[in-house]
């Protein structure tokens, strides 16, 4: 508990509460439970992608192709649905996840077997995946009336008062958190990113671990692809364009170290919520639309400054006399 209070997660929780208070002072309706649930639902796609990205960043990689992966998976789902409206949703979900995972694996293979830097690989596949959408769709949109009611209804179906989309976000968070904490692969993500050199000495394959990180990120992007397309009931080449940077920002705000090996799923959750709240609050609090971009940019900088400051570890302490002073110093 004391460790939590000193952690960047606590810092970020504080920042979120302060942010909510600020918003509520201008628009009290924002913090009504129903609205907060809606904000969480709206943030779920970002959250799901950020979970995958977190795992990738933990292994000292980065996946810039998630948004393109999402768009391609989403387009394929939409086209499948348009062609065979009777296809049940579980099949569509399976296709989305599988397709996303395959795209993630393509990234992973290039990183693992050919040792191309991840940022280069995913910068490349980002444009390639987008291009493929254009090729398969011929640039045409898939519109609401071409989609079946079951297809578009799934993410918004209500379960225990929350839409399925929100449940997906919760489920993905719980699943990834469990995997990180309790499976050997989950721990390997930390080891491989924290000290890739040492990982080899412990018999962990750096490349293979990274491969699985990309696969997971891809699968989650594929899942989000279907959810996204179904939610907005439209699929086209450019959906979620530029979303990859927002996903990376969510991770880093959540304290996932871009240098790999450090960060928590709770952090990612908070980081995504922080951005989600900012994005959802800007339209309702009376801010000129022309100010929005500058405000979200500043929010990212401030959040990162705060949590990098709080994460700065004090070195070990040699002096006896300094030891007693240290805890307060570290908390400040």
């Amino acid at each position: 508990m004391t460790r939590f209070l000193k952690s960047r997660e606590a810092m970020l929780t504080g920042a979120i509460l302060a942010l909510l208070a600020l918003i509520a002072s201008r628009f009290p309706g924002f913090i009504a439970p129903g609205n907060l649930a809606r904000v969480f639902t709206d943030t779920s796609p970002l959250l799901i992608l950020a979970l995958g990205q977190t795992v990738v960043i933990l292994t000292r990689c980065i996946d810039l192709s998630v948004a393109a992966n999402l768009a391609l998976s989403g387009m394929v789902c939409a086209m499948l649905n348009a062609a065979w409206p009777g296809l049940p949703v579980p099949v569509i979900l399976a296709v989305a996840v599988t397709l996303g995972a395959i795209m993630g694996m393509a990234n992973g293979i290039l990183v693992w077997k050919l040792q191309i830097p991840p940022i280069v690989v995913t910068l490349g596949t980002m444009t390639i995946y987008r291009g493929i959408i254009f090729l398969i769709s011929d640039g045409a949109w898939v519109n609401a009336h071409e989609m079946s009611a079951a297809f578009t209804g799934f993410p918004r179906a209500s379960l225990l008062g929350l839409p399925v989309l929100a449940w997906m976000g919760i489920l993905a968070t719980a699943g990834v958190a469990l995997m990180i904490a309790r499976t050997p692969l989950g721990r390997a993500f930390y080891a491989v990113g924290g000290n890739p050199h040492a990982a080899v000495y412990t018999g962990l394959s750096v490349g293979r671990t990274q491969f699985w990180a990309f696969t997971l990120s891809g699968a989650l992007a594929g899942l989000t692809g279907y959810l996204w397309v179904a939610r907005y009931a439209v699929a086209y080449v450019d959906i979620a364009a530029g979303f990859e940077l927002e996903v990376v920002a969510a991770c880093v705000i959540g304290g996932i170290s871009i240098a790999g090996g450090a960060g928590t799923i709770l952090g990612t959750l908070l980081g995504a919520l922080f951005l989600g709240i900012v994005k959802n609050a800007l339209p309702v609090v009376d801010v000129s639309p022309f100010w929005q971009m500058a405000i979200s940019g500043s929010a990212i900088i401030v959040a990162v400054t705060l949590n990098t400051r709080s994460a700065r570890t004090k070195g070990r302490i040699i002096l006896r006399s300094a030891e007693h002073r240290a805890p307060e110093g570290a908390a400040a």
Partner: protein, 521 residues
């Protein structure tokens, strides 16, 4: 406390034969043949010392038999069966475990996890069994007398504690072969003694041990057998009882080495560096000393006493909170290493790989990096001058390298250290600080470094030598400052300089130390 780590006696039926035998092992890296058809045999219940100069291929064979490298040629036989290890986990499963020369730990994981990563106990569902993992970690730590909480994140530990975790990790596997690659380099006197006891225990349990060290006293203390490598070839093996130190050195180096510390006349000149009331919020306090021209000032202390911290503050890496530094009688404020170099103070760090050599740059660029202003013209590089300067100093230090254009990363540890020393000498400093200058350096090079230090002092350079090796401190220093827990415990000179006084002050035992430390605290 009952240990549950199995301490079974190993089957002694084939006690005469080696449990692990490597033969004809060859391993080539781009440009270097690190191993050339070498053989090595390890016997149950015996300690085999592997010795050789820096770059002889010792660590490479360790990596080969633990599955990290795959040999280009040769065979590995384990208990009579030929084996092949694709990964370190394969080797661990076969009962081979190692404490590697590099620290191979993970800062973001806890102590317990570091011990078990790669072979964590699992529940029936295949998930990690945390309670078991923690309790087994606690047992192993107890077994090696390490007072560490298994749940502490590793990043909160000092370097010595980290090393204990590495040892615990090696013991977490029920191994019949335990490899230790320079395990004592980062340990202090007391911990070294404990390590020896541990080795004895492992021996008694019938495990085969491969022990790599550059320290001969150590080798003679614990080894039963020896194997010597030179330049990637096998030059001899046998029983320790049948050789003397000089024989081993001859095998290693191919000639006799004079191991006596160079004769020096203590003839210090004027004060070059004065440090007064130097303090840091958490690392050290009230450090004061004077360094004179042509003097070698030793800094002794247990590992973690804060010596490196003081030196790094003098070099401008960390900022002291109080105190002044005078160079040549004038007060100087040193805010960065660049300031320090301008003022003629240079520092050869302890952490060679991270702070010393710029891995990725060729040798000559490493050497000229702080001297570029001299080799360049109006800010533009002149390669010919750079090569000339690099050659002058690397050849003086007897560097072994294929060419000056070679990446320093491909040199052995000892040779990297030579590049770093060459780099600083090329700046023509007034004060050179050497932090553990011979750590991990082979005996031939060690003698060369010692001779070289004496020579530098004779030329009028002032030397600060931080060292944890008592013979080196006594043999080289004109004066010695002993540090303990961030404070100066004693300043010793002349007749006061004995192994006993050093240890007493460093560990804080005895009346003398009580008063000294008490005065300053």
């Amino acid at each position: 406390m009952q240990m549950s780590v199995p301490s079974r006696q190993f089957d002694q039926t084939q006690a005469d034969g080696p449990v692990l035998a490597l033969s004809g092992i060859t391993k080539t890296f781009p440009g270097v043949k690190a191993l050339d058809g070498v053989s090595l045999e390890l016997f149950p219940g015996q300690v085999t010392a592997l010795i050789g100069e820096n770059g002889a291929g010792k660590s490479t064979i360790v990596k080969t038999l633990t599955g990290i490298y795959q040999p280009d040629a040769g065979t590995i036989t384990l208990a009579g069966q030929p084996v092949r290890f694709a990964t370190a986990q394969d080797a661990a499963r076969a009962g081979i475990t190692a404490i590697h020369q590099e620290t191979v730990l993970f800062d973001e994981l806890t102590v317990a996890e570091n011990i078990f990563i790669g072979h964590a106990p699992r529940t029936r569902l295949g998930l990690i069994d945390w309670p078991t993992l923690r309790s087994r970690a606690r047992e192993i730590l107890t077994r090696i007398d390490a007072d560490l909480d298994p749940d502490t994140p590793l990043r909160e530990l000092g370097i010595a504690s980290k090393h204990l975790v590495a040892i615990a990790r090696a013991l977490s596997v029920d191994a019949r072969v335990v490899v230790m690659d320079e395990p004592t380099a980062a340990l202090s006197h007391k911990e070294i003694e404990e390590l020896y006891e541990l080795v004895d225990r492992l021996k008694a349990e019938g495990r085969a041990i491969l022990f790599i060290s550059h320290k001969f006293d150590e080798v003679f203390r614990i080894a039963d057998r020896y194997t010597v490598f030179r330049d990637g070839t096998h030059v001899g093996s046998g029983l320790m009882s049948e050789v003397c130190e000089a024989d081993l050195v001859r095998m290693m180096v191919g000639r006799d080495v004079d191991q006596i510390f160079p004769d020096r006349v203590h003839n210090p000149g004027e004060d070059v560096l004065q440090v007064v009331g130097y303090s840091h919020p958490t690392e050290f306090a009230d450090i004061g000393f004077t360094l004179r021209q042509g003097e070698i000032l030793g800094f002794y202390g247990l590992v973690g006493a804060g010596r490196s911290e003081v030196m790094q503050a003098l070099f401008g890496i960390t900022r002291p909170s109080k105190g002044v530094v005078k160079i040549g009688g004038q007060i100087k404020v040193i805010r960065s290493p660049a300031d320090a170099v301008e003022n003629g103070i240079v520092y050869v760090p302890e952490d060679r790989g991270r702070q010393g050599a710029v891995i990725g740059l060729p040798i000559f660029q490493n050497v000229t990096l702080p001297s570029l202003r001299r080799t360049s013209k109006n800010g533009f590089l002149r390669l010919a001058e750079e090569f000339a300067l690099a050659r002058q100093y690397t050849e003086r230090l007897d560097l072994r390298a294929a060419s000056l254009d070679q990446d320093v990363g491909n040199l052995s540890g000892g040779n990297q250290q030579k590049v770093v020393i060459a780099k600083w000498l090329a700046t023509r400093p007034r004060v050179i600080i050497l932090d553990e200058p011979t750590k991990g350096i082979d005996i031939g090079s060690k003698a060369a470094v010692h001779a070289f230090m004496a020579e530098l002092a004779a030329e009028g350079l002032s030397v600060i030598m931080v060292s944890s090796e008592i013979p080196e401190v006594l043999g080289m220093s004109d004066r010695v400052i002993v540090m303990r827990e961030g404070l100066i415990a004693a300043e010793l000179e002349g007749g006061d300089l004995t192994p006993e006084t050093l240890v007493r002050h460093a560990a804080g035992i005895g009346a003398a130390a009580e008063t000294t430390a008490g005065d300053r605290a």
